[in-house]
């Protein structure tokens, strides 16, 4: 079974992630019952690995839903203003109510992410789209405007340093007690699967959806809420994880198509595997230091984005 072997690879990556890091965690020291090793495993390595899996799966599935929402293959939460809006929300919480618990911060970020993404979709409806590439450009510009506001505010209130926490995805600070929000993100990712058919139909457009008796607006709203909430959870807990939502849905779509009921489990698994692998790379190349996973993904992701754009154009011509 292909799915089973892919799952085994994911398990292997997860296992590898347990043993890569500054402190030595080995099977020998674990079986010897070394208290310090177990502490590192339970408080740092397992939370980090789970966080990587949840964030990767969540962002990949969000990317897929986002692409069906915008009916465009080049969008994902970080090219649609979603991530930047969530960031603005987090900053405003820091300014106005710095004492809010993490869940409340996430809710505010979600609210901003929904508003930002809805604004993106509204702009798309307003402008004539001559090319599929216009869509991510609009999203990136909108994101740029929103993050300019965020940066300005952060600059004025001396919070630029804290901004780094959500602009670059970094899992090195993940510890038990500081990533649990991602369980919520993972539950939403799983929940998205139950609407898989409706999301596929949504990707075929409003008239197509209405013909099949599906309430288009309601499905769009559901997709928007899931994408925004997953993004907000990820951004609040580990920072922006770019490009996963772009690369993974496209690769899976090329191989399997977009009947999401079939492809979403692959998307989730591939997303988790990619983020895990990139984080292991980031942890290994300049050990004992780390390159944030966002940077590794940015390098791989932008190259892939170019490939995708060039390939599309050559086929369209």
């Amino acid at each position: 079974m292909k799915f089973a072997s892919a799952f085994l690879i994911l398990i292997a990556l997860a296992a590898a992630s347990m043993f890569v890091g500054v402190s030595d965690v080995t099977l020998a020291s674990l079986s010897a019952g070394d208290g310090k090793t177990w502490l590192i495993l339970l408080d740092s390595r397992i939370p980090r690995t789970l966080a990587l899996i949840f964030a990767g799966a969540g962002m990949a599935v969000s990317g897929t839903i986002m692409q069906m929402l915008a009916q465009n293959r080049f969008v994902e939460p970080s090219t649609a203003g979603t991530v930047e809006s969530a960031g603005l929300g987090i900053l405003l919480v820091m300014l106005v109510a710095p004492g809010l618990p993490v869940y409340a911060r996430m809710l505010v970020a979600t609210f901003f992410a929904i508003a930002g993404t809805a604004l993106f979709l509204a702009i798309l409806r307003q402008i004539p789209l001559r090319s599929a590439l216009m869509v991510p450009l609009v999203g990136i510009m909108l994101g740029g405007v929103i993050s300019a506001v965020t940066t300005f505010l952060a600059y004025r209130f001396d919070l630029l340093q804290s901004m780094g926490a959500w602009t670059t995805g970094d899992f090195s600070a993940v510890l038990r007690g500081r990533y649990e929000l991602l369980w919520l993100s993972m539950s939403l990712t799983v929940a998205a699967y139950f609407a898989a058919d409706r999301f596929t139909v949504m990707g075929m457009g409003e008239a197509f959806s209405s013909n099949l008796g599906i309430n288009y607006r309601r499905v769009v709203m559901l997709g928007l809420v899931i994408v925004a909430m997953v993004t907000a959870c990820v951004v609040v807990s580990v920072g922006m994880v770019p490009f996963v939502g772009l690369i993974v849905p496209n690769v899976v779509s090329m191989a399997l198509g977009d009947r999401l009921r079939r492809s979403l489990p692959w998307v989730a698994m591939f997303g988790a595997g990619l983020v895990l692998a990139c984080d292991i790379i980031g942890r290994s190349v300049i050990a004992p230091f780390e390159i944030p996973v966002g940077t590794v993904l940015g390098a791989i992701g932008s190259a892939f984005f170019l490939y995708l754009v060039l390939r599309r154009n050559s086929r369209a011509a």
Binding site: V201, S210, N211, L212, M254, G257, R259
Partner: protein
């Protein structure tokens, strides 16, 4: 039966559909013809609840299209438009299977699976069933969408300019297919057409629209006449009877 009473659609100051009152009996093929901007597609979109109305009432098979829940209507009427998005990369079989969604809500039964295979066979799509839509030619893709609508198995089937982008052979095949759907499967087919001769050869009724109103309606014998066509399209026609069908030419 489709009942349209005083249907109105406005965009700003312009009235695209201007108080259309029309009754189409169940069964058979009805073609809606008329010049560009006559309101044909708008009317079809309103009949199939894709577009809201600014006034009037439309019922299909006794169901008010503005009040009946979408999923109930989806089992009674289907609409195929010409501009179908291909964002979701589906195989032909996936697409056709979505035709069963209004009935099964995603839980396919054996009966659904059988109907999907039937629809594929009906349109000779079996050999292509596992190909992706974006890999097919426009004509084959159109056929796949028609297979989906057939699979949806509704009493009323609407098609908005189904012949667009089809070459002659595929256009003829498409019209024969709509004819068969009406004759063999007892469907009520409503189709917006640009080509008056396709309408003349394949439909039981022709409804001619102009400036958002129904100008006239009747059998092909009644509509495909030089004086009537000239009134509809504003150009002169020569009509000849060839093999029992009335054919209009307008090239000189």
């Amino acid at each position: 039966m489709i009942r349209i009473e005083q249907a109105i659609k406005r965009y700003g100051q312009t009235c695209v559909v201007d108080g259309v009152t029309l009754t189409l009996p169940a069964g058979g093929v009805t073609s809606i013809v008329g010049p560009n901007g006559a309101g044909k597609s708008t009317l079809l979109a309103m009949i199939s609840r894709l577009l809201g109305m600014d006034g009037g009432a439309i019922s299909v098979g006794g169901l008010d299209v503005t009040k009946t829940p979408g999923d109930v209507l989806a089992r009674r009427l289907s609409i195929l438009r010409q501009d179908n998005s291909l964002t979701a990369r589906l195989t032909v079989r996936d697409l056709v299977a979505f035709g069963r969604y209004p009935h099964s809500k995603g839980r396919m039964t054996d009966d659904d699976a059988r109907r999907i295979e039937e629809a594929l066979a009906y349109l000779d799509l079996k050999p292509l069933a596992d190909r992706f839509l974006d890999e097919l030619s426009g004509g084959l893709r159109q056929r796949a969408f028609v297979a989906m609508v057939l699979c949806q198995d509704t009493e009323y089937m609407m098609f908005d300019e189904p012949l667009n982008n089809l070459d002659i052979k595929h256009a003829v095949t498409m019209m024969r297919l709509l004819r068969r759907a009406a004759d063999e499967l007892g469907k009520t087919v409503v189709v917006v057409l640009h080509d008056i001769n396709f309408a003349s050869c394949h439909s039981d009724r022709i409804v001619a629209m102009q400036d958002g109103r129904v100008l006239c309606q009747g059998t092909p014998q009644e509509i495909v006449r030089p004086d009537v066509l000239e009134a509809i399209y504003g150009t002169s026609f020569v009509v000849q009877e060839i093999g029992g069908k009335r054919i209009a030419t307008y090239f000189e």
